[in-house]
Symmetry: D2
Subunit: 344 residues, 4 copies
């Protein structure tokens, strides 16, 4: 029971420091809907990282953060460019289409990343009333493939956005993993790289629930409180999201968690790379490892440490590491892989 897995960073639990913060916040009454001191503390922390000219709104989950963040940037006749396998395109059950009314334009991205070239190839039929008008470039940092955009890559995308008068949106559900990977401050690869709106992830990095929508572009921030409420993402007992973020952003907890998860992923990739029958398919830059396993050993491996097959056709697996993954588990997994290969 409660066996550790490589299934997803949302299979992991809550970091003890977050649990403690929740307990401490649970005293007496507090104003609801964000007018409390814990939410204020979280926002203060965010502003330390992103600057005072930034608007921060706490929401429940990543889908909510993405869709509501995109709502600030679009009208329904706009389209949104994103990677073919972006979370907003394939894992949010068409929440963007329903809530925004917009079309998502998928761009092939074998390593999860868009480039100025692949983006420009999809900027079409501007000013043509029959066609939805491109308005947003949305990327994930780190990507769904465990890769991380460099700051230079981000600035190049931002330049395309500016050239065509588009907004730049970042799904940062794993932004802490990206930050430690780049060894750069959050602001350096978001605000300073031209991002307009950011989904800042908490749940996958040790929180129980809660994400933040960070708005850098003052032109689009003013109505977000209504968008959040109408979008069913306004928590009443908000202090319990605020307290978590205040803790995550204190004492480098976000960093320690992400560094650990990334480190475990590197170790896992390293171990797997030693096994000739296994092919690591993506550069391991954050907390995920993508690798092709001989199909016959997959079910038995999953029994040991569950994980998902990402691409059925090629038997490519996705192995996610979390703040609570241990070196022992990683080594045992590699060992088990070798065992299964030997015994077959």
């Amino acid at each position: 029971m409660h066996k550790k897995t490589f299934a997803s960073d949302n299979y992991s639990g809550v970091h003890q420091a977050i649990m403690d913060a929740l307990s401490q916040a649970n005293a007496g009454h507090a104003p609801s809907y964000g007018a409390d001191e814990f939410t204020a503390a979280a926002i203060k922390k965010f502003k330390e990282y992103f600057g005072n000219d930034t608007e921060i709104f706490l929401v429940y989950n990543g889908t909510g953060a993405n869709v509501l963040g995109l709502q600030t940037l679009t009208q329904s006749f706009h389209s949104i460019l994103c990677a073919e396998l972006a979370h907003i395109n394939v894992d949010e059950c068409a929440a963007p289409e329903k809530f925004l009314g917009c079309k998502l334009i998928p761009i092939p991205a074998p390593d999860g990343k868009l480039t100025p070239e692949t983006i420009e190839a999809k900027i079409q039929r501007l000013d043509d009333q029959h066609h939805p008008q491109v308005k947003v470039i949305s990327i994930s940092q780190s990507t769904e493939y465990g890769t991380v955009y460099t700051i230079a890559e981000l600035k190049a995308i931002s330049a395309v956005a500016k050239k065509y008068n588009l907004y730049f949106h970042m799904d940062g559900s794993r932004i802490s993993n990206a930050a430690v990977s780049l060894n750069a401050p959050f602001a350096a690869f978001t605000k300073e790289a031209g991002v307009d709106v950011l989904s800042f992830g908490g749940t996958k990095n040790g929180m129980m629930f809660g994400e933040a929508v960070i708005i850098f572009n003052p032109a689009v921030s003013q109505n977000f409180k209504y968008i959040r409420k109408q979008g069913m993402q306004l928590h009443s007992k908000m202090r319990f999201i605020g307290a978590q973020f205040a803790a995550l952003l204190s004492n480098d907890l976000w960093k320690r968690n992400a560094e650990h998860a990334n480190g475990m992923a590197r170790l896992l990739a390293q171990e797997l790379s030693k096994i000739p029958q296994i092919k690591v398919t993506q550069s391991v830059e954050a907390n995920g490892v993508f690798a092709i396993f001989p199909e016959r050993i997959i079910p038995k491996l999953q029994d040991e440490h569950f994980f998902y097959v990402w691409t059925e056709r090629t038997a490519e697996a996705r192995l996610m590491c979390s703040f609570d993954t241990t070196e022992g588990e990683v080594k045992k997994f590699a060992e088990k892989t070798r065992e299964l290969l030997a015994s077959a």
Copy 2:
């Protein structure tokens, strides 16, 4: 700091037994999105109350529960009948309109309750293509005015629903308060009274976050999982909602909490009724007290124990009691009221 209030039952914190359940659930990994043992335990508990032929889905908050529950019952050309001051009509920032596309038809309800007569007066233009077609009667139990429908009243409404082939929806964000008020099992005034879909509240009765959509009508339950995901209400680390509900529904915690809150409201009403200058305006049947205060004392009273003025024009205040309201606080509030009246 953390001073107790009568502002809202969502100003209160989390019951200690719920906090303990959260801690216990925080061990190792668990499958995400509801495939975990804690969510299974919560659903099992719900079925003990509502029967095995009931579908239960956990969501984040009351607005989400209401809107997504209503989505199972409507197409966009339908209309929904509700009380003028129903939460779905005035406190969800038009989330129902945006997400459902439906029109809400408000019905005047001075005590918060609809009746067969007031409902039938608004059933108009059936089969007329120019007019949205009535499809749902939505009520709140207990109501926004702290009143509680009797089982007979609910059955009478259900009869109207059946007569016109309408669905019957219940916003039960304070359903536990209604249950102890009626001294009846949940099923007796929901499923057995003809309700099709119920929002079952957790947050206002001692939970940190989480509500449940309970579907009694098997004809409408099959697609809810997609509605929940597209509605941005699917939590990844679902075990932490599951564990809370499993605890709330165990050892009569829901009942003890609600009994206490209702009892404090009764006490408060009783105390206020002794003061000639105060007029209690609604029958106190759940955990809320509505009362008109002399306007001049309101600001000072709010300093002591904050509460909201519900109707500016008449200086009618809403005083909500919670599982953690104490007898001392109630008495002190009444005393303070007397003091302020005397000193003025």
Copy 3:
């Protein structure tokens, strides 16, 4: 067959001058979607009435004109104030809610007209994130009750709009009837009275199909072409709407048609007023007459000249006159009424 009625001004056919214009436009090929000379001619005509700093877009019908016009003025968390029996509120099958996501706030208006007082009474909870934010006042000119706002009344409403930073929308599906009633230029009671967006009706005044969205406020006009296309209201063979409007706006055809219809309504009211058993209930200021008839004669009267009962409860009928209503028909109707009353 093809018997004349008082049912609706959309029971009437197409004025011969419009038919001729359609025939003349039907020669050779013309660019589609509005890039043709007939559409250009219509827009030129409109600008003669409304000024060059006005944007004009042709659409199919009144519901489309209203909903898409309102789309330029709203985001989904806004609400729209309108008369309880406004077309947008009760006769568009919740198209506004579905397309805009907004809530409509109905205001009682026994004579069809809003006033500064009734409007201000519904401007509530500004800046409160739980409540949709009022953004538009929408009125009908002439109203659904055949009454007409004076220019002073319109300016008073516009002042309220400005005071609260709201937009002012006018459903002018019968705007020509209002213009002749006021004996004022279109611009005097629209643009110059502070209206931001106007639905300009064609179909009810002798056209086959087609309405126009007239945008006076330059701040909201820029994206309308996309709104129209996404709103499914962009006609391909647009020249056939353009040619109709060009004809309607030439040689005072709009005026002659509306003067005739209004005149017939006045005559009808005059005739009915002579009959003691009939009570004309509204001031007859445009082309509609509202009157209470003894219930027993209604079916036989409808056999003669069909009309709709507007209010079942009171047997109040709505009698609409058109550009093609004849004096003979009006007199015959009054005579028939007298006959039926006598014979009963």
Copy 4:
């Protein structure tokens, strides 16, 4: 002025027989919103082609017909499979996404046609709550590339639909061109081939405005009248759409028009094929010709007979023929092409 073009079949005017029908319908009053005899006559004609167990609804335009037809088949969490360049995907400004809330899944289709193989490759993640669920296969007949599905091809697609419990939707904005191409009755390649809902085009085959939504599947037809009204596609003076369709479907007018247009396209393709520098790129099976021209002659050719460049990159032009295209125009165009090539 009014020069003929190969730009689009919606650059053409209205067939004289349709104009005559409009004039004849313009006598006296007629009930609005479809309760008139002309609409009844049109529906009767449609039933002669499609059978009495078919529901027919008249709407304004092709986008409306497609989107509202798809509304009968979907809930917002569904997805719709279609060709990459399907009208619903690239030429309706995201009206499907806004109105339906659904995701469209584009399938590469170099000749405009889907196949069972390309369809099945996109049927993914069934029963997975994170992903919109495929519910509809939508095709265009004839296609956007002037090709026509054979009856066998359609039945093969229908078999895929049945296998996965999907609906089958057909955009028949050029269905008459397909019918004469197949030399088959309408029903043979729609209803009898398993189509659930069909958009039946009128405007591109000689009408002024108007399309029809034809519903073969009785399970989905019952609420269409509300969908049409809420979708802003219900015409008040409906007799003028009814009269056009009644005329189009009488005396084989639809057939003669389409035969002529298809014949002109064949002639044009034949003439162009004789010119070595021109490459006809698609099989010419309906009324469109796709051909690559040397880029330098395109502007001068467009001066003579305007047409659109379909693919900028390859200088592929789309040349559409209409019911009113003449043999002389086709020959003159080919001649001009030769001239320009010679003179360069």
